[in-house]
Symmetry: D3
Subunit: 333 residues, 6 copies
């Protein structure tokens, strides 16, 4: 007999009210279609479907096509362009998942933006990375998974637990496989010195650093120099994120002035513009190695670019997070 | 061997510490005895027992007779008279459930009161519906289930997820089954116009609206009129809640002045007083159709009243919420 | 010139935007009319006006008649009968005050109910006093002022600061002024033993205690006895709150069996019923001394009853709280 | 003498440490330059200066040029295009203001977006308006000021106090001043019926409503009709917000089919696109009356458009909020 | 095939992603090694391993050696000396457990310190017990288990659920087994009178109380006396916690002055110092009965001391909490 | 006339209830006596008095001797040894200040400990610096003031505003005044490279870095080297905090191996042990320059040590925070 006021006949219940609470569910947002599909393939599950409309007043509307009640949901969305639209879309999806009574909402944000607004290094500025963390928590996320935060401390901006992964092993394993001789690791930025040392240690190479200094000279307000030596060396320039490529551009110039030979560039997040690509072309680097935490449009893909996928890493971490198994053991830690 | 300092011998444990976390449990409060029992019958489970005392200083004391540790508890309580006593009883039971370490506390409130205090439409007034939502959350509820909120936006007053159900299909299916000819749907209130349209759409009937306007006339401060036409039509008057029946009374008067024939009345929540019943008797309506979100005392039940039970609907939603299955599919959504 | 879209011409501003933030404002709720007026008189300020309606669905509606923007508001409401209506009215008024942007909301609750639900002394019971504190905080109160909590620890249920005052000095000063000879202080309850000692110390009198013990005897499940001696003594029976008067009744009986002479009764909160008054009449106590934290209806006022007003104490504390001056120095502390 | 480790000599302190806490400060964001300046002029204060950069990874960086310690700050930002960038800019500015120890942060958002995502009227959708409110609170705002929320209930999505103003009087006073004969007020949407009644009451005009109904007809899934009569009448079409103008377009069509004469359009928020303007041109309305809660680019300003400024209203409310004076009395309430 | 950027090959997944969420895990901190091991033995599980370093700036560093993702963790730590180091260690472990995504964190604190700072009994003092509860909640604990709180109301300082156990049955069962004739139960403190009555009821013995009173006498500011009679009786002195033993010392003196014979002492928590032990030796008590909620160093163990273990009780409660079974039924409640 | 139940006669009130809300008040804890007095002298105010007891169970008891109602309180406490006792004392004082209704509580923590536990750089470790921030906020602090956080990002661990000051100018101005020729700035740690660059920029000196690398060599697991050149140079070794001095010791050794001449050491926080002092003596540094954020005991003060006081800086910032004036302008920012 149909339940009055509904379209349904109840299913016979049997002896007990068994529950399938806690099944895994994967969703991805507009910014992460390729990545989301690759993760789904790896896990052998079909990502969840939803409708998205953007109204003429730019309001985003989301409607999940399938129920997530009691499910362990993983929502993949990165903060690529347009950053704020993608971020709001992520928050709106979290709200929809929460209000549909998901059991646990895990946001998977391969590239978490605003990492450089992580402290007040001058008066009267915001700490936007903390704001971003607060927003994610306030929207209703229970956990987060991300890759190569600009500063490890950003983990502490969250009160919810998370997995702050690194693509360092992915990138460095690849570099090792190339067997580049006479290699010196160079950081474009003093703030990245410690990670450059980690690169040096893993590659068994010396380290040098590019120093940028503000001087009282109207013509040339900044002076670049090298701490350490690169003369006659092949160089692996390392960083966490490349945007316009200005720092890389200046670093390569001063490296060549100081006698460097072939220059390779490795970094995790590539948020490129036309200008970046123009600079890359001008620089004639030996190889540009990066990951797909941000998907590059076709026009930004250069012949000397190697893009390594973070999907297997994310998928494996999602699987372990879901199963309640160690993620650390993935890295022998 | 007895555990020192207790009355018990430990049970042998075997190889692992298996847990029966998450079993379903049903409780109902003073206001919802009939409804609670009906839901329990539908689900095939026995509602939980508890002791209740009211001391001479009117303080309510609750003691659960059975443990709810790790259980998925559904607490049914409506906000019928005495409203504030029933509400406090609900909050106190939530506190008791929380402190006994229930895994999840779902409050089932068929009639959530204070829906008309949902905005500041004049200065210096409270938004009591938000206060009510805050109280329920602060007491420790994890989810809520309710029927026909006065405004859909009240869902947004909650930060916890919930199921805001409607008795619209229950009521309208019944009306359809009566095959009333020449029917026009009329809302007593302009704020209910959109829902009246939904009635009209489902019943394939035209819609008219009662307009109430304040005028500068000491004799008769309010003037009623009809937007649309009811001349020679049978009328289905619709609303979400009927209290004293003042609006219904005035609407029926103006409908009859405008040539309406038989008048039916359908609404979800009936919070009646002596005066309501007196008016109902005077109005000689064809039929008064409502639900049992508020249980009527015998003396308030009239021969032309049809009360439809929301228990099957609530029970099915409870079952699905417990099992982590879609509620939307009950309504083909 | 009138501001477009309003009824007003702006006032000329002069050089600066001076503000009258932080002025004092007094409101009182339904339960505290007499007390509120007395406090207002003491402070020389007129209590704020508001409209109150109770709709037929028992919903309370409040509308402040005057703005409280930026004011330091003191809201007096006690938890006398009907307790839950008065409590909800208080919360609703707090919400109205908050949404009208009061600067600071201080609730003055001479009698804070549910003090005896302050711990889990058996399994599966709530701690309703904490729930009450949570509700007050969640509604938006910034501070509280109250008198003679059932247990001092209830202060710790609040995270907001407050003044937990005592009527002990008010009551004991009065008793001292009577010069009762051969006086022994007796507590009706072992849980009040420490306060009885304070009475004894201040009155320079010995202390005895009534002990109530559950025994395995179907006829008389409880046995009363006296710890200490009252033979030939006048007795001052002390407690914090008297409801039905059952404990007092039993205590007086056992005191008389043990040779006590005249018996006086002193306590702070009197939440009486018909039964209480009947017992008081039967007991023929020398004098019943209490305060007006709960206003007694005329029919509950007996010839041998002395009611001391807490209004001057509350008013002085309100004044000092408003001015940022010490309250402790009122008591030489 | 200079303070060691600083550039400063301390100022002599004199007898006391007087503080200038609580002075007023006005800032405006990218979306509200015209409005912000107008408000500043009205108040006679110079808006606060700040630097804004947008980096190539689209991250917004804000640096206040002047200290706001202990100030009562009013930040004006509307949610015009690009909506999410403007919203994030507002949140980032709130964070900067908070971390610079502003005493009180009031956000002034003339047009608060996402008002139509205010309830779950179908399963598995978010309530984005509540999310927006949560974000504003989590960022650190203490109060909000806004105009014509899509639903009054959105006030209840905020736990912080606020002033939800209306441009109704501004718009209707203007319409009254035009003395349009034989006027009927028409709402494009049944959800706006109550506000249409308010228009009718103030203008002393009858009301009619456009009804949109979904039917099972593949050709024409929606059918428009008029509830009430407009034959031979001049019509004032009213709404809260116009975007693509689709509803207006359909309404005008059905109004003309039903014999309407001149048609005026009045609404508060105009979030226009090319399409809107094209439709407006095609419709040949008598006059389009709106406010400047969203500033229109030059190309969207039509000869038959009248834009009324909300700046005086906002400025007066800001002044009163700062001074702790009633806002309600602006409207005789 | 190895997952790129990790050390691992993924395990084949099969048909579904089954999860072992919610398994039990036991950890113990520095203060609770003996107790933790005993509990582990009882439950048949091996406590979790972790590294602990204390750096020269006294900062404690914790690193779990095994993953707790999705586990139901029980962390045993008592607040013995050094109290604040042990407390911070507990909070730091909670943070580590939370950030490793434990499913549920239960802190087991046999002796919860600061119980005597549970109210403002004089102006301008803190309520540190509430602070302690706030810290535990803010660190991320989901539940707590503790024994014999100084006041039952401290349960209400927690918003999270917990099990506030008692060692009363453990201690009293032992005393009963000794068959002491002519026994009177005496409390050292009036605040413990009610619990003394419970002792008396269970042991079927009369009760007397030690009263301490401050008097205006420079020589001897405090006067001790006995309420009730102990002449010719054996005495069981009861309390919840013994520190320096000052109260016990004074009580024994006045008991002997009043004719008491053999004196036994029973209490739950022994936080001893050299002075305590010296006093115990001087007092020549018949037997000192306590529990091991605080582990005594060898030098503090006296021949007349009987230490009863709370480990079986805690282990059984942990097991039931994990399994979602009643704890109350352990005590026939 | 005396107020009944108090020791006081009310003061005549006059026309209005003026308030002295918001006056400044200074308190200092056990760890900051010297610093607190110096700050008080600078501000010309007498620090607030309080009683402190430590009971034999190590519980700290605080009682303020003067009321702080409505005051703007600055509480100075550093996290020197014993760290956890000092931290708990600070939290307990915050609780006492809050419960005495202070208007605003500013904690001044010159040395905020646990700065090195600021991220999860390995699995299953806590982020204790965030825990510390949470504790301070949960206790009730409204603002914080601190000096030279180990990482600037720790500011983002707080949601409350604060002033994260630096002693860089204090230290570097002093070094400049010494006119050391041929100076190279060297950081002991790659994580401090950016700050070393700031030193170099201000002193107009080159920069070199000490690199520490882990190698697979059982004998000597770590290898030190210099990036950049120090041959024939005087060296200023810079860091934020020195504890055992191990890093300094190793750095000096490798610097001397690489031809450095005179070596100066500058840092903000000195948390010394016997071992530190022994190493300092062995190293024969030219000068050890530090601040008094941690007060050194007499025995730790060496002839070549220069301690610069942060009291003027803190006092000036307190003054400006109280007055609502810019702190940034102290540094021309």
């Amino acid at each position: 007999m149909k339940i009055p006021g509904t379209k349904y006949e109840p299913s016979p219940l049997g002896d007990n009210l068994s529950s399938n609470f806690g099944a895994i569910k994967l969703f991805y947002g507009s910014s992460a279609a390729e990545l989301g599909k690759e993760i789904g393939d790896y896990l052998g599950i079909k990502p969840g479907a939803y409708d998205k409309n953007v109204f003429s007043n730019e309001n985003i509307f989301i409607r999940l096509r399938e129920s997530v009640r009691g499910q362990d949901v993983y929502l993949v969305q990165t903060m690529s362009s347009p950053v704020h639209d993608n971020f709001m879309e992520m928050l709106i999806m979290i709200d929809a998942l929460k209000r549909d009574s998901a059991w646990r909402i895990n946001v998977v944000v391969p590239y978490l933006s605003y990492g450089r607004s992580d402290k007040k290094d001058q008066p009267r500025v915001p700490i936007t990375a903390r704001l971003i963390a607060n927003m994610i928590e306030a929207a209703g996320a229970d956990r987060y998974i991300t890759i190569d935060l600009h500063a490890g401390q950003i983990q502490g901006f969250f009160n919810i637990p998370g997995d702050a992964l690194t693509a360092f092993h992915l990138l460095s394993d690849y570099v090792i496989s190339k067997n580049i001789p006479d290699l010196t690791v160079v950081s474009t930025d003093l703030g990245y010195a410690k990670q450059a040392r980690n690169w040096g240690q893993k590659l068994n190479s010396p380290v040098a650093l590019v120093e940028k200094r503000r001087v009282d000279n109207a013509e040339r307000p900044e002076v670049m120099s090298i701490i350490g030596s690169v003369d006659g060396r092949n160089v692996l320039l390392v960083d966490d994120e490349v945007n316009t490529g200005g720092s890389v551009f200046n670093a390569v110039k001063v490296l060549r002035e100081n006698g460097a030979r072939k220059i390779y560039l490795a970094f995790t997040h590539g948020f490129f513009t036309e200008k970046t690509i123009a600079r890359f072309k001008e620089l004639e680097l030996e190889e540009i190695i990066l990951t797909n935490t941000i998907i590059q449009p076709e026009k930004y893909r250069l012949p000397n670019m190697t893009v390594l996928s973070v999907a297997p890493l994310l998928a494996e971490v999602i699987k372990r997070a879901h199963q309640g198994r160690s993620v650390g053991e993935l890295f022998d830690e």
